[in-house]
């Protein structure tokens, strides 16, 4: 695969909304083994990932950049929590490709995807920054 075109920096998905249904949060809390999954009052810290991943959105970004799925690995993740989000609330999500860069003379390429999560009252509640490594085919088959 050739290098990912840096003109994709700034590529954004259309903003979308996600309803934080209690059942959905409970399912997530159970999947990560939280003891209080039934009586959840706060959002589990990494649930942002499920919110931003609504409707396969991460896959859609990777596809749009023309990167084969078997070459990608999630290597870094950061969340910033600015305002509390409540169970039952509807949030709005914006996602974009913030950067594309390479290391080791192009043997390793990185895609940075940033998301912003807004509460129902339009205030920014949280941010997510994800770094994805794209492994070149030679490297992947040698592993």
């Amino acid at each position: 695969m050739s290098a990912i075109d840096r003109r994709f920096i700034g590529y954004a998905l259309p903003a979308f909304t996600v309803l934080l249904e209690p059942q959905r949060l409970q399912r997530f809390a159970r999947a990560v083994g939280m003891a209080d999954a039934q009586s959840l009052s706060v959002i589990p810290p990494t649930f942002f990932k499920a919110i931003e991943g609504e409707d396969n959105s991460s896959r859609r970004i990777i596809d749009a950049l023309g990167v084969p799925l078997q070459q990608v690995l999630h290597v870094e993740q950061q969340f910033d929590y600015l305002l509390p989000i409540t169970v039952g609330e509807q949030v709005r999500v914006e996602r974009k490709v913030a950067d594309i860069y390479e290391k080791k003379g192009g043997a390793m390429q990185f895609i940075v995807i940033e998301s912003s999560i807004f509460r129902g009252d339009a205030q920014l509640a949280g941010r997510s920054r994800q770094i994805v490594l794209v492994r070149r085919p030679a490297l992947a088959s040698a592993a």
Binding site: M34, T46, Q70, L73, Q78
Partner: protein, 135 residues
């Protein structure tokens, strides 16, 4: 804010915690609950095609287990930032040892250095968390 956070010296281990074994069933549950249906975590044939011996755990499942550890041990202090570097592959069918160390303290927050080690003692996640402790 917990006295543990207030009294501990910088560099000391505040909490340690061994997770349950991460089984294939857990990977399937997490995939469904998180919406991350990448077959790398579900389909051994796809995982081999991608260069691995078997399916591997979602890095985000490992981070979620670290997040659970944080909420259980430091529930009194709200999280303001949480980050992770996935430094190694998390193989299926093993538990993670989670550890939190006090990295820094300021007037209204503490920074924890986090790590998750696999069954062989290899560092698979290196992270940090900033907790608000109030003024």
């Amino acid at each position: 804010m917990s006295s543990r956070l207030g009294d501990a010296t910088v560099g000391s281990i505040l909490a340690e915690y061994q997770t349950e074994v991460i089984t294939r069933e857990r990977l399937a549950l997490y995939a469904e609950a998180s919406g991350d249906l990448n077959p790398l975590h579900l389909d051994p044939a796809f995982a081999r095609k991608a260069g691995f011996d078997d399916v591997i755990a979602h890095g985000m499942l490992g981070m979620a287990l670290l997040g659970r550890f944080l909420t259980e041990k430091f529930s009194a202090a709200p999280l303001s930032q949480f980050s992770a570097r996935f430094t190694g592959i998390i193989k299926v069918d093993q538990a993670l040892l989670c550890r939190a160390r006090l990295a820094a303290r300021s007037r209204n927050s503490v920074t924890l250095e986090l790590e998750a080690l696999d069954a062989a003692g290899k560092l698979v996640i290196s992270g940090s968390a900033v907790l608000a402790t109030g003024a």
